[in-house]
């Protein structure tokens, strides 16, 4: 276990280093820069822009900028936003709760619904339900999330007026029901793709398990079909799902970005888009690093949980 953790830690550090180099290079080598937002201020002169660039350290060689950024990063100083001068870490951690709220709700929905649909589809393989679920999942995977979001807003907020059109809460309300009402639409939209993924995976895993010999053994024992499915098939089919939860994290984060944009949800995804628009490099880099860390932690957790749930795996 200890050597596993150490190994993973080393791997993670290498991965993060790669992530940071790739991200930094992509951002800084591209044209345009954070100064363009100031360029149009009347009276802004080239001298003043150069002065600002110097103050921001943008005029130094790129490897040097990278080195300085990294060496501060490891001490916990992620730099300050070019926009509001707040520490990057504080900005991101301010946005994380909203993103987590959305993601966790969506994943909970996806796991509950997806697992149920997947199990039922596998148990009743070839039934009308199974066919519908299969086609439904494929279509759900193919619908552009933002488009689905727009349609949901159009129907439920604009036409029917049942749900708010966006945001996380009504300012000054703060009641649970208010938060809940705001959460429904974005969580459902974000969950759509995940439900599809989970149901497909779950169905596949169930079918894999059902075709295995020990299921026949269980049946030969005289267990009812329900016990066979729940006690033997389902438990075993859940094991690969733990891995899936880890693997799906990047997809979920990406989906959250789009969903947050459509629903003006004040989370990390929208911060990313905003920061990208302003070329707020420290924040953009911070978000890339945080999401990479989240992804790594996710897969680490998935591995540990898998080991805990599956006696065959020893770390």
């Amino acid at each position: 276990m200890a050597s596993f953790l150490l190994n993973r830690l080393i791997q993670s550090v290498i991965l993060l280093a790669l992530v940071s180099v790739i991200g930094f290079a992509v951002l800084h080598l591209a044209p345009g820069g954070p100064l363009s937002q100031f360029a149009l201020i009347p009276g802004m002169t080239q001298e003043q822009l150069a002065h600002i660039a110097h103050e921001m350290g943008l005029d130094r060689p790129l490897p040097l900028q990278y080195w300085e950024w990294v060496s501060r990063l490891v001490t916990g100083d992620w730099g300050h936003s070019y926009r509001d001068n707040q520490p990057v870490l504080a900005i991101i951690s301010g946005r994380l709760p909203a993103t987590f709220e959305l993601m966790l709700t969506a994943i909970a929905l996806a796991v509950l619904l997806g697992v149920t649909v997947g199990v039922l589809g596998a148990v009743r393989r070839g039934s009308i339900f199974d066919s519908l679920a299969t086609v439904g999942a494929m279509v759900a995977l193919s619908i552009p999330t933002f488009w689905f979001g727009l349609i949901v807003i159009y129907i439920f907020a604009v036409k029917l007026g049942w749900l708010p059109a966006g945001s996380r809460s009504t300012v000054g309300d703060g009641s649970f029901s208010d938060y809940f009402r705001h959460l429904i639409a974005p969580a459902v939209v974000l969950a759509l793709v995940e439900v599809a993924i989970w149901s497909r995976y779950m169905r596949g895993a169930m079918l894999d398990v059902i075709s295995q010999d020990f299921i026949r053994t269980a049946r030969a024992k005289g267990l009812s079909e329900k016990s066979v499915m729940l006690r033997h098939a389902f438990r075993n089919a859940l094991l690969p799902m733990i891995e899936l939860a880890g693997l799906e994290l990047p997809t979920l984060l990406g989906g959250a970005l789009v969903t947050e944009t459509v629903f003006t949800w004040p989370g990390m995804g929208r911060l990313f888009l905003d920061s990208l628009g302003y070329r707020d490099y420290p924040v953009v880099m911070g978000i890339l690093m945080v999401s990479a860390v989240l992804v790594l932690i996710g897969s680490l957790f998935a591995d540990i949980l898998s080991a805990a749930a599956d006696p065959r795996i020893r770390l």
Binding site: Q212, D213, F214, R216, T217, A218, R219, A220, K221, G222, L223, S224, S227, R231, H232, R235, N236, L239, A309, D310, P311, R312
Partner: protein, 344 residues
Amino acid sequence: MGAPEIATAVLDVRNLSVAFATHTGPVAAVHDVSFTVAPGETLALVGESGSGKSVTSLAVMRLTPPAPRTRLDGQALFRSRDGTVRDLLAVPERAMRALRGNEIAMIFQEPMTSLNPVQRVGDQIAEAVMTHRPVGRREALDRAEHLLARVGISDARRRLAAFPHHLSGGMRQRVMIAMALACDPALLIADEPTTALDVTVQAQILELLQDLQRETGMAIVFITHNLGVVAEIADRVMVMYAGRIVEQGEVGPVMRAPLMPYTQGLLRAVPTLTVSDGFVPLTSIPGTVPSPTALPPGCAFEPRCPYALPGLCDATTPPLDDAFDGQQVRCLRWDAVAALEARP
């Protein structure tokens, strides 16, 4: 359902046919198979893969995919402990479940995969007990320990907590047997229980099964493709080819003087343990078992048969003929073949 007379047999299978639905229409995997097995008796079901022997056993257990994907015809009469006789193919699923693992038990070929990998073996055995007996988990585990000891696993108490992957192949098969014995079944169907095991372990398992049969008087249907094993364990033998019985009889006559060219072929493919007869060349039967979707006309074995007579064997489907001593054979030319075989 009336109680048909099945004499002393535990299981009397009559005209069993099994067909699977495919997108090209139903495909018959088993044709018109009949056999009986009496208490304390061991019936060997022999054939290559795809011959229908496993499907036959699964059909008796009603473990084939449910209708409409599978169509079962015929009868499988089973005598319960309480003396009632029921047709396994016709009883409701619930009643069938009460029999499975209780009065009829089954063990499988792959002990590696036939156990739930994430459940402790004790629990898996106890589950079989608890399914059919009104006992709590503690009692069931006690019984599991007892069963493990009985199938020759030392330190049974500790092994209860083991996961399947902690055990060797032979140990796992013992666990499977223990599980099958959980409710003292009257009939044990063993589907190639030793195929996946080392030769030495094979022998141990066979011995164990024989011991257990002596103790409990259960009937065993032993499915195998290995005629060497048949000679060791079976009382009677039934050879299947392409879903049909092609030869059956007492193990002695069949093994000594098989009438069906197919059985002969199978026997030649078995390395003999006795070298006194001198060198017997080891040969295999050319070709493979035909797919049930593409059976040749006439005798299904005709394309592979060294004695096939064009115009006869590829035209007429042979019936199952009574030969001598209750031996039955499905061959149009069995007497001719017997004569040819008898020549030195």
